[in-house]
């Protein structure tokens, strides 16, 4: 008995000891490389954005943001996000509810479909809408006859953004809801609650932090999307330019300070998102799915 115990202790102890003795140098190198890499590729560019934005001074910075076309771009980005995020929020909750709580045929296919926007290049996502609603498409003449403008207008931008940001909420909630199972819902139903009451009083509170997390990521992407929106927008100044598109236009005009001023807003959005995300993860890690995806 004593022998067996000793043996088990030594097998546990041996690799642990090796791991600590080897680690000092390895850890130093690994951390050095990581910080150097992060510094050069992430922190430095971020710093450059802010430095360039304020290169002509603080008054010039705010003047650039108040410039009518830029102000319109900011308003458009906020509008698009305000439509796309709630839509995807509703869709994401519905999809993950269906996938996690019910058994049906074609479930695997549905999950693959939800992932589609992640695997398709954003430019293609935009192109899909051009092909669908463009003048040369089957729908094109019909839309034109009825005076419905989708492409090169706000509806097209909203559609492209919805498409691209479509998986964020669902992807966050599906594993969480699968993990939680259906017993809480069954308990609520057995107590006489209706389907809606069960959803509102039981399911939603159980997923609230995961949902918030998904909404945060979805919003960051909705405001920052460039590729898909660029294809459908038509780049009409003051009308169909979102913030990322405005950055490109200003930059191409060699108006660097203004370009970086708008870029700094997007960078700020990213930083705020990151901080909120970290806070959420710290406080509610157990209630947010642990499947950390880097999108």
């Amino acid at each position: 008995m004593a022998l067996a115990l000793d043996a088990s202790i030594s097998t546990f102890a041996a690799p642990a000891a090796r791991a600590t003795s080897e680690s000092r140098l390895a850890r130093g190198v690994a951390m050095g490389v990581t910080f150097l890499f992060l510094g050069v590729f992430l922190v430095l560019p971020l710093a450059v954005v802010f430095v360039e934005a304020f290169a002509k001074g603080v008054p010039a910075y705010f003047a650039a943001l108040r410039e009518p076309d830029t102000a319109a771009a900011i308003r458009l980005t906020l509008t698009v996000a305000a439509i796309a995020v709630p839509l995807n929020c509703v869709f994401g909750v519905a999809a993950s509810w269906a996938i996690a709580k019910f058994e049906f045929k074609g479930k695997a296919f549905l999950i693959t479909l939800i992932d589609l926007p992640f695997s398709v290049s954003p430019v293609i996502s935009g192109l899909i809408y051009v092909l669908l609603f463009g003048a040369g498409s089957a729908l094109g003449p019909f839309l034109e006859r009825h005076g419905i403008q989708i492409l090169f207008a706000v509806p097209g931008i909203v559609l492209a953004t919805v498409f691209v940001t479509f998986p964020f909420v669902a992807r966050e909630l599906i594993p969480l809801m699968q993990d939680q199972g259906t017993t809480d819902e069954e308990a609520a139903l057995s107590l006489g609650a209706s389907g809606w009451q069960t959803f509102w009083h039981v399911t939603l509170p159980n997923i609230r932090w995961g949902l918030l997390y998904g909404v945060l990521l979805c919003n960051a992407r909705a405001m920052g999307e460039f590729g898909a929106v660029s294809v459908v927008s038509g780049h009409i100044r003051g009308l169909t330019n979102t913030m990322p598109l405005q950055v490109e236009i200003l930059y191409n005009q060699y108006d660097f300070a203004a370009a970086f001023a708008v870029a700094s807003l997007l960078a700020l959005l990213a930083l705020v998102t990151l901080v909120l995300k970290t806070l959420l993860e710290l406080s509610y890690s157990s209630e947010i799915s642990a499947t950390g995806r880097g999108h």
């Binding site: 017993t183 069954e186 308990a187 609520a188 057995s190 107590l191 006489g192 609650a193």
Partner: protein
Amino acid sequence: MEVRIDHVRKEFDRFPALHDVSLTIGSGELVALLGPSGSGKTTLLRLIAGLETPTEGKIFFGEEDASLKSVQERHIGFVFQHYALFRHMTVLENVAFGLKVRPRRDRPAWLEIRKRALELLDLVQLGGMEKRYPQQLSGGQRQRVALARAMAIEPTVLLLDEPFGALDAKVRKELRRWLREIHDRTGHTTVFVTHDQDEAMELADRVVVMSQGAIEQVGTPDEIYDRPNSPAVFGFVGESNALPVRIEKGEAWFADRPIGVEVDGEADGDAILYFRPHDVELRDGCGGCVAGPVVASRRVAGNRHVELEIGAERHRVEIAIPPGHLAAGLSRLAFRPTRWTLFRVAEARAA
């Protein structure tokens, strides 16, 4: 309320979980569904609750056909193995939930709901805990909250799915006794699922033994234990030995000798003799007994259980002897079953 299950069959994706089950549960009765995992006991409970719908057959609550009613319409109280308490609600809110979600015209005033919930918490001995959250309670306390929550809606039937399965042995025993008291006090028709035979025997008025999607036997704990009607029940309820024997002229033979078991009126042929470890008497010599070397010995509660290997095929049997008994030290023992049940080989195989 009486619950009648009438020729119910249930399949999951063509996989049969229950074949043709019929059972009547009397009003106010406390019934245990006992069986190994996969025997269909939980499926049967969920069918009664309305959490599953039968593939065939009907379920009656009293005179009323409840088969097509939804869970909500059945007014059952369901207690889950892992409690399923709403974690973002306090204990009081959990217990009050069933009353709060009622449509306005049936819903009591909040003060009335609160009063009822607090009374129930007193009944389950959790008075003063109403402001806590489920995470702040022990497993036993959580399950009592779950029971109070189920009882708050004044259910027609109380259904419990392995209610004590996730608790440790001591708490389990306490809760068992306490559930019996609550049942006797409130008189709810109660059905609970368990794979723990002690739990079923100690708690239930009647035990329903299930195996492979069918009911094997229904009876009082005494009937089930003393007169099991199939090898499956004998094997599952209590400890048992199965000895292959041959019947010749009203006597049971093992290998080349009679074992001191007279079975008048049994036809000659092969059979299996079932007996319990403590239903034996030790013998000195061996004229009419089973004998063999002792291969293992262990202490089981108040007895010492000794395993013998008998016959050329080294068939193992286990017998119980008092721990201080002289025989406990012997390397070879002889005994004779004093109580037994005989199943013909065909029946035993079928099980």
